[in-house]
């Protein structure tokens, strides 16, 4: 029993991380981030590839997306092109991914320590996340949630396809962050699971501090509440979106790196993991961080128990978990008129 609970909490912590990222992105950009799962797989499999001394294809993708983003930046600013604008666009969109690419190819064949591999994986996925927003969402940032959602689905399809190209259909596992383990009563804690708890807790506190106490955090929240208002007080809403995507992709990649030593990941596993993060985020109402974290723990625990007692129907149970929550939400929903499109 207890080990199921422990298992559930470990899973739940990962879902909590993803749920937080989803809430963050939705709050700032109104994008329901279906490709969150791809950030997970990209992070995990990039890390696994690097550990086995291979050059991950995601580094190439980052460069390619950077070039497209550069083109879009130039096109968007064609009316007022100046050296500073071009310079900045070049720095962010071309130099950054190229440097990451160079570093990756240098370290890939040299069996770098785990920390370097993790850092490289995070950098690569962060760049992809940043460019993803720039390419796919920034041009349609003003449209309805539905249009953004469908664009998000398109991104998911494309990124998942790339995942297959880069990593093949076979699953991979990565090396554990630490081999330490200790036993407390009937439970055995591995270094890996401790890392999962620690990182999740750190992120929850970190996000709370970021949004509560920093200027950028407040700017992001302001964008979430009212884009136009935020622009009028001088917040660059496109920057807010990029920051949100950057954070989300880093969180996704970290979750991936945390779980790839525990479970074998395939190019398409991320989608399902991401969706479970969703369940947590929806239960949390897409607004509340603590509620989302709590809900994620519940989802993880339910999953652990149902995989033990009714393994065939594990996914069915997890995904239908949402229905009672939705019923409660719809009963409690206030009659607020939404102004759409």
């Amino acid at each position: 029993m207890l080990f199921l609970l422990q298992d559930g909490i470990t899973n739940g912590a990962i879902y909590a991380l993803l749920g937080l990222a989803l809430v963050l992105v939705f709050g700032v950009t109104r994008v329901i981030l279906i490709p969150q799962g791809e950030f997970v797989t990209y992070g995990a499999l990039t890390y696994a590839s690097l550990s086995s001394g291979q050059m991950p294809g995601t580094a190439r993708l980052a460069v390619a997306m950077g070039i497209v983003a550069f083109g879009l930046d130039l096109f968007a600013g064609r009316k007022s092109l100046n050296r500073r604008l071009i310079g900045r666009a070049f720095l962010v969109n071309i130099m950054l991914p190229v440097v990451i690419f160079a570093l990756t190819s240098w370290f890939a064949t040299r069996h770098a320590p785990i920390a370097v591999n993790i850092a490289l994986s995070l950098l690569i996925v962060a760049a992809i996340g940043l460019f993803l927003y720039r390419i796919a969402f920034q041009p349609i940032a003003h449209t309805s949630v539905l249009v953004l959602l469908i664009a998000s689905v398109g991104c998911h399809l494309a990124l998942q396809g790339f995942g297959l190209v880069f990593f093949g259909a076979e699953g991979q596992r990565g090396p554990a962050l630490s081999d330490a383990a200790f036993t407390a009563g009937p439970l055995r804690f591995t270094g890996q699971s401790i890392a999962v708890y620690a990182v999740t807790a750190a992120f929850i506190v970190g996000l709370w501090l970021f949004f509560g106490f920093t200027l950028y955090g407040k700017a992001l929240r302001a964008t979430a509440v009212n884009r136009l208002g935020a622009r009028l007080v001088g917040i660059r809403t496109s920057l807010s979106g990029q920051i949100a995507f950057l954070l989300a992709s880093v969180i996704g990649a970290i979750s991936g790196i945390l779980i790839v030593p525990i479970t074998t990941l395939y190019y398409d596993t991320g989608f399902l993991i991401g969706l479970k993060g969703f369940i947590a985020a929806i239960i949390g109402g897409l607004v509340s961080y603590p509620l989302t974290a709590l809900a994620a723990l519940v989802v993880g625990t339910v999953e652990a128990f149902s995989s033990f007692y009714a393994s065939n129907f594990k996914e069915v149970i997890v995904f239908f978990l949402i229905l009672p929550v939705l019923v409660l939400r719809s009963l409690a929903a206030p009659a607020v008129e939404e102004e759409k499109d």
Partner: protein, 589 residues
């Protein structure tokens, strides 16, 4: 007949295609698949494009349709034609259950909820023993009429496309009716529709079931076309694809669904057959291109291909003018009309710590124009919302014709003969003025969804439209009757709202800032219209900031300030009331 012509031509072309000599059978299969996808997409058009309810779960309803017939025909030997109603019924019932849970969800919860149960159902299909788990069910008998067994794609083609055409026709009919207008109003929020008696939760559930039944029909065909059913085509990916089809074609247009299905199915086929040659067969390239195309399309043409195409075709459907000689029966009303229509007694509304309306009492008598004035934030619109049931009151009583209506739903209030306009105009911008105004007569029509689909509603419908046209003429917008409501100036849109309210056949008209945005002449015309209505026996309660307009028109004025009534009386008395002057201009220091 001119409107039907393109459809007839299309039907003839589709019927002729299989007889073209040398037609590759592969193309026929492709057309079959397009037809199957079009059925689902059409439901989505109604659900998402028209009704504003996004669903990623339509593939699951196909699954219900397909598995129902698969189980019944293979395990129980039931004839395929008998399983058709069963398939439709099962998908319909599933839609009722899921719909009751999900359609009340607002905004983004709905699509997310549909993703969740869509995936849940997919896993359920692939785990249940009697559905054959992951392998599914095979050996499903083909459709047969007498001795004609629809074994090859060329014969079932006719069945599929007959169904597509019929469903397109029924759906178009449905949209062009009393129920259809209610559905089309859903996307713009529920308050305006409910103020005219539309049961919005019921209308949402209706489109949800309709879309699910169409998906179930597609699933039924699929099972007999493939002669097998397995979970893969009913998963999340397929659900996403159907939504994609609807958006590509043009989510608001029935034929957009068919066009979208053609584009996507053919595109996928091309990508699958040619991409490996170009890129030397590395993995799932078509999904990559598919995803990128989807994102690119949304950036370039977010409304889809169909409206773009129609704008370039020389088709201009001429609108039929409603025959205004038809008379719509008056709304049933109480026989003896008392002197006091509306009585508000210590009405109160609290939002947390803010008291928006603080024990306000006043009444509106028969044949009277009462103005509710006060500085911004005085609680005028909140009072309106209390009367019309949009907000629930925190205390006091409101009664209409002696009947207590506090906390009655808006539809109930409309039935008693209270019609309103809104401070922020709430029209459906992509519907014509005539259709918008006809929503006002919703409660005076009877025809339901089924009747509209089969065009049994025409006499009822003609009377509703005639009434709408008469009211539009009455407010002086006859020239704009066919214009899209969104293309009118704000002032004209307010007048359209008045015409819509008049369609209720009200005894009390609630107007929230009707003169805002009107020019001087238009204001005068409005004032004379309101006087004329009063003389005809109607009462008017209006909120207005234009003092000249109010003083000239109102029989009596009620003044609110910070939620409290500070004065009531004739325009002359109000003008000289020191409290009113103080509220508007402040005290002299």
């Amino acid at each position: 007949m001119t409107q039907r012509l393109p459809i007839v031509v299309f039907a003839l072309v589709m019927a002729a295609i299989p007889f073209i000599p040398g037609m590759p059978p592969f193309w026929i299969v492709l057309l079959d698949n397009i037809g199957l996808a079009a059925l689902v997409a059409m439901g989505l058009v109604l659900l998402t494009g028209v009704g504003g309810l996004t669903s990623f779960g339509q593939a699951a309803f196909c699954g219900f349709g397909a598995y129902t017939t698969a189980v019944l025909t293979t395990a129980y030997g039931v004839s395929p034609w008998l399983t058709l109603p069963a398939s439709l019924l099962v998908s319909g019932i599933a839609a009722v259950v899921l719909g009751i849970v999900t359609v009340r969800l607002s905004g983004h919860y709905l699509p997310l909820g549909t993703i969740a149960w869509g995936i849940g159902l997919f896993y359920l299909f692939s785990k249940l023993e009697f559905l054959g788990r992951n392998d599914g069910i095979s050996g499903i008998p083909p459709l047969a009429i007498g001795s004609l067994r629809m074994l090859d794609p060329g014969t079932i083609y006719f069945a599929i496309w007959t169904a597509v055409l019929l469903c397109a026709l029924l759906t178009t009919n449905l949209l062009d009716s009393r129920t259809g207008r209610a559905i089309r109003a859903l996307r713009r929020g529920h308050i305006a529709a409910e103020a005219f008696g539309v049961q919005t939760p019921r209308a949402k559930l209706l489109v949800f079931i309709y879309a699910a039944v169409l998906a179930g029909l597609s699933g039924w065909f699929y099972a007999h076309f493939q002669r097998a059913a397995n979970p893969t085509p009913f998963g999340a990916q397929a659900g996403i694809e159907y939504l994609f089809i609807a958006v590509v074609g043009g989510a608001g247009y029935v034929w957009g669904g068919v066009l979208g299905a053609a584009i996507v199915v053919i595109l996928k086929e091309i990508l699958q057959s040619y991409l490996p040659y170009i890129f030397h067969g590395e993995g799932q390239l078509e999904t990559i291109v598919f995803g990128i195309l989807l994102v690119a399309l949304l950036q370039l043409a977010p409304t889809g291909v169909w409206p773009w195409l129609v704008a370039r075709l020389p088709l201009r459907p001429d609108r039929k003018r409603p025959d205004t000689s038809l008379v719509l029966a008056a709304r049933p009303r109480a026989k003896a009309s008392p002197d006091v229509l509306l009585q508000i007694d210590h009405a109160r509304k609290q939002f947390g710590g803010v008291i928006a309306v603080n024990d306000v009492s006043f009444d509106v008598q028969a044949r009277e124009i009462v103005a509710l004035i006060g500085p911004n934030g005085a609680g005028k619109s909140t009072t309106f919302n209390l009367i019309t049931g949009v907000l629930s009151s925190s205390g006091g009583t409101i009664s209409m014709l002696g009947r207590n209506i506090d906390n009655a739903p808006p539809q109930q209030v409309a039935k008693l003969g209270i019609a309103r306009t809104f401070q922020h105009v709430k029209l459906v911008p992509d519907m014509s003025v005539l259709e918008n105004v006809a929503i006002g007569a919703h409660l005076r029509g009877r025809a339901g969804a089924i009747a509209s689909m089969f065009r049994l509603d025409r006499s009822d419908e003609a009377k509703l439209l005639a009434e709408a046209a008469r009211q539009i003429e009455r407010v002086g917008l006859a020239d704009q009757i066919d214009a899209l409501a969104g293309s009118l100036s704000l002032g004209q849109q307010r007048i359209v709202e008045i015409a819509r309210a008049l369609c209720v056949d009200p005894i009390l008209l609630l107007l929230d800032e009707p003169a805002a945005g009107l020019r001087h002449m238009e204001k005068q015309r409005l004032a004379s219209l309101l006087r004329q209505l009063r003389d005809g026996g109607m009462s008017v309660l209006l909120v207005e900031h234009d003092m000249g307009f109010v003083m000239d028109l109102a029989d009596r004025i009620v003044v609110l300030d910070f939620g409290t009534k500070i004065a009531e009386g004739t325009p002359q008395a109000i003008k000289n009331n020191p409290d009113v002057i103080k509220a508007y201009l402040g005290t002299v220091a």
